[in-house]
Amino acid sequence: MYDAIIIGAGHNGLVCAAYLAKAGRKVLVLEANDRVGGAAITRSFGTGFKVSAGAHLINLLDPVVIDELKLESHGLDLGQKTLKTVSLSHKGQHLVIDGDQLTGQVSDEDRSAFADYKAQMTRFSRLLNKLHLRPPPRLKPGRLSDYLDLLRVGAGLRRLGQRDMRDFLRIAGINIYDVLEEHFDNELLKGALAFDAVLGNHLGPRSNGSVLNALHRSSGRINDDNGTFASPPGGVGAVSEALAKAAVALGAKIRTGAPVEQLMFNGDTACGVRLQSGEQIEAETVVSNADPKRTFLDLVGARHLEAEFAQSIHRTRCSGNVAKLHLGLKSLPRFTELDPTLAGERLLIAPSADYLDLAFNQAKYGHCSDHPAMEITIPSVADPSLADEGHHVLSAIVQYAPYRLKGGWEHAHEPFKKTLIDQLDQYAPGLSLQVISSELLTPADIEAEFGITGGHWHHGEMTLDQAFMLRPAPGAGRYATPIDGLYLCGAGSHPGGGVMGLAGRNAAQTVLSGGKT
């Protein structure tokens, strides 16, 4: 009998397993797919191409997790350097963002405003990061430790100083569009910054809550620098493999190809899982890295929950709005007027905040964007092992592509892929003729491949109503759930989505301390 079964070998499941094993628990990780990593995997597509099938950059993996699990000794390699961001212009007048430096046709005012903006956002997101390292405070009267938790949050805010605190409280809940208008004139800059505020969510730049998402996305540190990106050699799957090695080295057991069908109960307490194969495995504790809807409405079943809690999970907003495009190319694409040494950097098609807003408008009404925004990487530039000699692989995160597309994805899949390739052709003329293999993952495909309800990368919208102790829903906001013996450890819990590992770490600590809701 195991002390803990972890459902899902995504990065949070592996992190949680590693921490539990490190504390001496007997841990079994069950993964439905035939490899570890969940949506953080590198896999092949087309003829001879390999790509990070879900997340394709690392920006949030927490240094605390890297240190505590000694991931570097298990093969973690985030690459030589952090990536610059290039905000592409189809006329070729690109803007390059490197840390707090801008290169391109940009005014001195914008340059200096950007350095200030970046510094302030970094201060804010470091405060956020402190909150990410602990379970969120409990909003329930009575317990001293809960008051202390809340005080700690208040004190963190206060320590920002009067000016920053006021700014933080003013902008944290509002939209990025208005904030960018206050600071900048350059459209390419505003487009790039707005893109980071909406990525992964059903948010447009004018949607309130987008600033919070921007802060969340820059709360990670790579090489001690906030808001930067790493492209690990071997793709993001190599990070998952390092996590799996660490977990196994610490004593955890991992089984792939073992999809869980149902939780098992002893009376009102979770006592194990039943696999789709019919095999039953018992454990003291079950920790689910599956998304909250899958966990509670499928693996547990609404009828085993109390009515209001079941409804609050049911109402969780988790319809994905992001698609993923993979292209296998004959040669390195040439973006108009782009310095070829920048081809391996992070390239954005988000030429203005208005462009993003117009793209979002269509998604609001259930259509995919005619002119979508894209985050493009060509990882084969730094890591030739991802493609055959001379070939290249292009990976793009595409927004917006709503899960609940009007008319369904079945007939829209190929036309949308063509829209995307045509659009890339506009920025890199001739690219469409270089395509050997292509693959589009719509939210429906993401749901099918990775088992994430709604194909939502973050297991649920990253907005205030689903943040902190409200993530995924009241009553399950601190990893413990209303069902004794069942815990959550995935991106659907605080601090949320992105390859961070902190939900897994916090969940493990909660399990070890016998934490309750």
Partner: protein, 397 residues
């Protein structure tokens, strides 16, 4: 429910019995109860009350909220909804119960009728459709609001069985308390349950609105020599308090209507321990109720026998140290128990049977207010509990 396109033009409807009740209602006093006109009294509240204690009183239950629950998961659904074990309510039986929110606070109480195999009705005083649908996630059930499709009469009192027998309901005297049976009348179905809100021998008749008038006529013709009288809301309120039954909006605040969490009550706090079955692995409120069982309740429902004859409406209850320990939620002078009775909600640990307290009663005499601190005792059980309530067959049948 399909609505008439002009439905909004009428807020309150006459009940299907209105052609009959409006003739009998000498006072012309009706009030709104949900979507229907409901008689507050017909001729004299005391006389109406005594009809259900000494002969037969008939109360128009049309406005009660009624829901039909069918589908393969009907039983599982009700078992998750209610705190009691619904599987114990076999076909042809009725059971009383409460349902709670996740915090273990009572949303409402009502009766479950196991009408036929796979078909249940839930009857409640308050509208529950929203709560029932909220609870339906994950269950294969069909929940229909049949409040307007079914109507009902309460036929209560010592001669009620004889009346129904005279009306032609064969072997009605063999129907046990909380049993139900279907009869054919005028080519329609009349369902009779031995249930009621008076704590006396009594029955409830359930039918489609088309049957309302013929059933009323047959009932009153059969009951003429058995002292049948219509009774209004005020008379029924007296009978229910004597029986010791609690009522939403009087003795507890429905949890889904409360703003302040300290103003609601759990089943334990309403003396309904017997309705909470922790052997069921899950029902809404279970987790919170288990915690309450471990840590203790906040309130206790107490039945008070108060000195004097002044009803203690809304009175504060004091202990001997003159500290307020609770409030009276329902009170009256009980004509049958010949006692000044009340239900009260007291702070734990107060309210053990036998405890003695003081009740602060204000009453008016010729426009002048008087105050009395009346001693009272906590008593056990219903204030009025005649053996005929449970007797099968009843004495005169």
């Amino acid at each position: 429910m399909k609505l008439d396109k002009d439905h909004y033009k009428t807020a309150v409807y006459p009940s299907p019995f209105h052609a009959k009740t409006s003739v009998l209602n000498e006072t012309r006093e009706f009030e709104r109860w949900h979507d229907y006109m409901s008689a507050t009294r017909y001729f004299d509240v005391s006389m109406e009350y005594f009809s259900c204690r000494n002969s037969t009183g008939v109360f128009d239950l049309t406005a009660m909220c009624k829901y039909r629950i069918t589908g393969v998961d009907a039983l599982d659904y009700l078992n998750r909804l209610m705190t009691r074990d619904v599987s114990k309510i076999k076909v042809g039986r009725v059971g009383y119960g409460v349902w709670c929110d996740d915090a273990g606070q009572v949303v409402d109480d009502g009766t479950v009728f196991h009408i036929r195999d796979g078909e249940y009705w839930l009857c409640a005083q308050g509208r529950q459709y929203d709560w029932l649908l909220t609870s339906a996630l994950g269950f294969d059930v069909v929940i229909e609001d049949i409040s307007h499709q079914m109507t009902s009469l309460a036929v209560q009192g010592p001669t009620s069985c004889a009346t129904l027998k005279a009306m032609g309901l064969a072997e009605i005297e063999t129907l046990k308390p909380f049993g139900l049976r279907h009869y054919s009348i005028e080519d329609g179905e009349l369902t009779v349950s031995r249930t009621g809100f008076t704590g006396d021998l009594g029955y409830e008749l359930w039918m489609k609105p088309e049957l309302a008038e013929p059933v009323w006529d047959a009932l009153f013709a059969a009951g003429r020599l058995h002292g049948i009288k219509p009774m209004g809301e005020r008379a029924l309120a007296m009978a229910r308090l004597e029986a010791g039954f609690i009522q939403a909006w009087h003795d507890f605040l429905p949890a889904d209507k409360a703003v302040r969490t300290t103003h609601t009550r759990s089943p334990f706090e309403l003396d309904l321990h017997w309705l909470v079955d922790f052997k069921k692995p899950n029902f809404t409120g279970r987790r919170a109720l288990l915690e309450e069982k471990r840590n203790g309740s906040r309130y206790r429902l107490a039945r008070l026998d108060i000195d004097g004859n002044k009803p203690a409406h809304h009175a504060f209850v004091y202990n001997r140290q003159n500290k307020v320990i609770g409030i009276v939620t329902s009170a009256m002078w009980s004509p049958s128990a010949k006692a000044n009775i009340a239900l009260a909600s007291l702070d734990v640990p107060y309210g053990e049977p036998g405890d003695e307290y003081l009740v602060e009663i204000y009453y008016q005499r010729e426009l002048a207010w008087n105050r009395v601190m009346a001693p009272c005792r906590v008593v056990k059980g219903a204030f009025f509990d005649p053996p005929r309530k449970k007797q099968t067959p009843p004495a005169d049948c």
